[in-house]
């Protein structure tokens, strides 16, 4: 579709003409669209597992310690150039190599947080 071929290819913008994968589809069709009083609604068994409950950062000591640990672990020699450059001019050629695969990492994180969300 038109969208997929527009513009120059940015490394930081991923385009998809249609929902890619089950999580995207669930986002669109499970609690969206018209809901009509009908004869019956099919129960979606097991899909609860993948509907994504909001897991917003809750201000707690645990969260703070987790952030602190992340920040302590951060290797600034790896990220400083990108971070500072980003502050300066919003660009960052080093960032390109650093961030490859970040989207996958995020997906995995979302997946993991889902499993826990029922305890929250």
């Amino acid at each position: 579709m038109a969208v997929a071929t527009q513009g120059t290819a940015s490394n930081y913008l991923q385009r998809a003409p249609s929902p890619s994968g089950l999580a995207d589809v669930v986002d669109l069709i499970l609690d969206k669209g018209l809901v009509i009083d009908a004869y019956v609604r099919i129960a979606v068994i097991g899909i609860e597992l993948i509907t994504i409950d909001a897991r917003i950062v809750i201000a707690s000591v645990d969260t703070y310690l987790r952030f602190a640990e992340q920040v302590n672990r951060l290797d600034l020699t790896q990220t400083e150039a990108a971070g500072l450059k980003e502050l300066r001019d919003g660009g960052g050629s080093k960032a390109k190599d650093k961030t490859k695969g970040a989207a996958e990492g995020i997906k995995e994180k979302v997946g993991r947080s889902n499993g826990k969300s029922s305890d929250d």
């Binding site: 004869y39 951060l74 971070g83």
Partner: protein
Amino acid sequence: MSATVTEAPAYVYGVTWADGARERTEGGVADSSVRVVEHGELAALVSELPSAEIRARRRDLLRHADVLQQAFEEHVVIPLGFGTVFASGDDVVEELLEPRYEELVALLQDLDGMVELTVRAFYDEQLVLAAIIAGNPRIAALRGSQAPGDQVRLGEAVAQALAERRNRDADEIVAELAAHAREVVVEERVAEFELVRAAFLVERPAVAELDARAEELAERHGGVVRFKLTGPLPPHHFVAERWAS
């Protein structure tokens, strides 16, 4: 065209204009074909089910979305939520298309020529934390400190800086993209480093504009924020509210 009278339960994907609605021999939920049930100018996209008690599988969710997506390439379509089943094809007419005819026609007219684009944006964890350290001397100083309480203070300062930055960035991103849209639905964030989860209702000619703006935003944030743009999609996020009102 094909208003065959049958007694099989009828799964409904969505409603579109009868003119141009296409049947499909396969690819429906429960491995069914997709047929068109017409009433006046309207058509419901329907699959006959072997039983109303079918168990939805993952594949069925994907197919629901796919049937709507394909129909949408021909015409505007009003998506129904997953899982709507009527007792028969006749009931689709008698309980949906006929009694809600005017509303459905008005909804299709209103959404004609409109598409949905969804945008999600995430921070790269490492890069955003590095930027927060670089821009905040107090956080830089607390980093690695072993003094009692400092780690909690560090984490709290990071959480606060991240929240501020996220709100600022998210507002800016949504506002810039919304300039090309007729309506916006901003959804609650799901992941910790997610900052935007939004759907935009866009006139077809403006799709390229919004796309170019997303590209520009992505370049401006230089990898600290990664964007995902999906569409053009049927207006999944924009029908329920119109229906209710």
